[in-house]
């Protein structure tokens, strides 16, 4: 299933080119700064329970942003991003629980391992030119393989999962209160978002978008598609591993389903779809919408087990049907309409 070559640039690409010359508007910068300051101040006035929601939003946005780098910007649709998430979580946890390795080092080891896994997946898929849905299915199968391996191997504590002891020591990547986790999650999200914003202005960023829009045309223009797809995949995987380690250190428990389950892969995609795939702020906006709704329905409808996930699924379906380019796309459409009106 390949994208039809229509010969025209999609609105997303056009916007990409516009922003590379113009950068962010003053209003956008003010909004970003205001939201950042607000988030950093939340520990001053929110309860521990509410802070948990803020941390969930930040980590969900970070995870989605990782997916966005590879699938949103480069167009290689991954349906198994949990693979890298799980590798990151398992690497740091097994190393620290069974071998006494410091989680900060385990985190780096996890990133490295996820990079290697991504290189294998990428080499096999891109070398044999898997595209579209076939690539999506392949990533899903790789993720399942990792789940089956961890589930059946004593080395990975099989299906019992890994429990990490709580030490409250930042050297062990654990923090006394929630605010420590919040600052770390914020820095991770800010860094990846800034990185994506910067990379979009570079040659590599434009190559990524060119490959997404029309791989054959990009190749014909001399872009080494294989190399840039690999770059995007490996970078995305290594950053995703970080999210996995963070999860393990925050919740202090992991098992094969928590790490490699299909719903984990979906949770990387949903914020992007709601906010706008392939945009800088889409995943963050998406996470800020879906996570509170998810939390709220979970709290309000707790007597009906599963109803919160029905709402989650419905939001995903409605988002795709009603705003195919997400909130950001909707916003651009409204602005275009307004300009036309004037």
């Amino acid at each position: 299933m390949e994208k039809k070559n229509t010969g025209t640039l999609s609105p997303l690409l056009k916007r990409g080119i516009n922003t590379t010359s113009g950068g962010m508007s003053r209003l956008q910068i003010i909004i970003v700064l205001a939201v950042s300051i607000f988030v950093l101040l939340t520990p001053q006035f929110l309860s521990s329970y509410r802070l948990n929601l803020v941390i969930t939003i930040l980590t969900a946005a970070y995870f989605a942003q990782c997916w966005n780098l590879m699938s949103g910007f480069t167009g290689q649709f991954s349906f198994g991003h949990a693979a890298f998430y799980g590798v990151g979580a398992y690497m740091s946890s097994i190393l620290s629980v069974d071998y006494g390795v410091n989680p900060w080092i385990g985190m780096l080891a996890g990133m490295l391992a996820a990079g290697i896994v991504a290189a294998i997946i990428g080499y096999l898929s891109f070398h044999y030119n898997l595209r579209g849905d076939y690539f999506a299915l392949a990533t899903m199968a790789f993720c399942e393989i990792l789940r089956v391996i961890t589930k059946n191997t004593e080395f990975f504590h099989a299906s019992t999962g890994v429990t990490i002891s709580y030490s409250k020591d930042w050297k062990q990547m654990q923090f006394g209160g929630k605010e420590g986790y919040l600052y770390v999650a914020f820095i991770m999200l800010a860094a990846i978002t800034f990185g994506l914003y910067k990379i979009r202005k570079t040659k590599i960023g434009l190559y990524f978008v060119a490959i997404r829009e029309n791989e054959d045309a990009a190749k014909a223009l001399g872009i080494n598609a294989f190399r840039y797809k690999m770059t995007a995949l490996i970078a995305s995987a290594m950053l995703t591993a970080l999210a996995g380690t963070f999860y393990a250190q925050y919740y202090l428990y992991i098992d094969p389903t928590i790490c490699f389950g299909n719903s984990v892969s979906v949770s990387a995609i949903t914020p992007c779809i709601i906010g706008g795939t392939g945009t800088i702020f889409g995943p963050i906006i998406g996470a800020a919408i879906i996570e509170p709704i998810s939390e709220l329905t979970n709290a309000l409808l707790s007597q009906y087990v599963g109803l919160n996930m029905v709402v989650y699924g419905l939001i995903l379906v409605l988002a795709i049907l009603l705003m195919p380019n997400g909130v950001v796309g909707l916003f651009h459409k409204l602005r275009a309409k307004k300009q036309k009106g004037e």
Binding site: K3, A136, A141, V148, V266, V310, G313, I320
Partner: protein, 288 residues
């Protein structure tokens, strides 16, 4: 050992038949609309619960309830295509795939809300004992399921190849624009094709009921397996799906015999990845 090899072959073939039918649905949907239906596993579960409800309400066996399940599942598929998928048929990319994933989440959890996570089962009188042939035992529900699958597959084949409706579906699958020019209402054909595909999932679910306890996540176990079979047989290729279903069923039974049940999944996924890499058009597909 010889007996267990033969036993696994028979068990594998019988289960493979049911997989084949479910995979046939995926293949048909992909063949006609180029949609990878991630909701297929959840729809198998829906088929199971519809049949379960019929059985408990009417006090009949799943086989008697089958026509009701078929009609309801066809309607569910028709409606999903009409309301959710037809509006975004033109939109490329992965929106259709994600939409079916969203539908899967909704269906699976709706079942959880309505029926709770408790296991449910339907027993068919006279089917508790297995047929014994020397040292081989044949599970009755699986045998009956296999026979049903054979009849229904032939039925679908006849509909696709011998009727005007089938001709219209095949035309839409090869050339939607051309089909439109010939006066075929493609959007309606899409609904019917999706309906038939979903019906296949439902029948598979109904036939699996006597062989297992059901829960809201039961279908998931078959979901990726069906993709493996559909791709292995060549997406869009009906006979490919049937043959691949039988092969995967046997492979699964043998890998469970030699490697243990928990690792048999692994073998199937490896076959899947190898197929995707070496010949993504599948067994009976054109050269990749």
């Amino acid at each position: 050992m010889n007996a267990s090899i033969l036993q696994s072959l028979i068990d594998g073939m019988l289960m493979g038949g049911v997989y084949a039918l479910a995979a046939l649905g995926i293949s048909l949907i992909f063949g006609v609309m180029k949609i990878t239906n991630f909701a297929h596993g959840a729809l198998i579960t829906v088929g199971m619960y519809i049949t379960y409800e019929c059985c408990t309400l009417l006090g009949v066996t799943p086989y008697v309830a089958l026509p009701i399940t078929m009609v309801l599942m066809f309607l569910i598929g028709y409606i999903i295509q009409k309301i959710c998928l037809n509006p975004i048929m033109g939109a490329g990319g992965h929106n259709q795939l994600l939409l079916t994933q969203g539908i899967a989440i909704v269906l699976e959890n709706l079942i959880l809300v309505l029926f709770t996570a408790n296991y449910k089962s339907v027993t068919v009188p006279g089917f508790e004992t297995a047929i014994r042939l020397g040292s081989i035992t044949i599970n009755k529900p699986k045998l009956v399921a296999f026979l049903f699958v054979a009849v229904i597959s032939v039925g679908i084949y006849l509909v696709l190849n011998k009727t005007d409706l089938g001709k219209a579906i095949r035309a839409t699958s090869t050339q939607p624009d051309g089909a439109t020019l010939m006066g075929i209402v493609v959007s309606k054909i899409n609904c019917i094709a999706f309906g038939i595909g979903v019906m296949c999932a439902g029948i598979a679910g109904a036939l699996l009921i006597p062989t297992q306890n059901i829960s809201p996540t039961s279908g998931n176990a078959y979901s990726l397996k069906c993709f493996v079979i559909a791709v292995f047989g060549g997406l869009g290729n009906i006979w490919g799906a049937v043959i691949a279903g039988l092969i995967i069923g046997v492979v699964e039974a043998y890998s469970a015999l030699f490697l243990g049940g928990s690792w048999s999944e692994m073998v199937i996924y490896v076959i899947f990845i190898l197929t995707l890499i070496i010949k993504p058009t599948g067994l009976l597909g054109k050269k990749g």
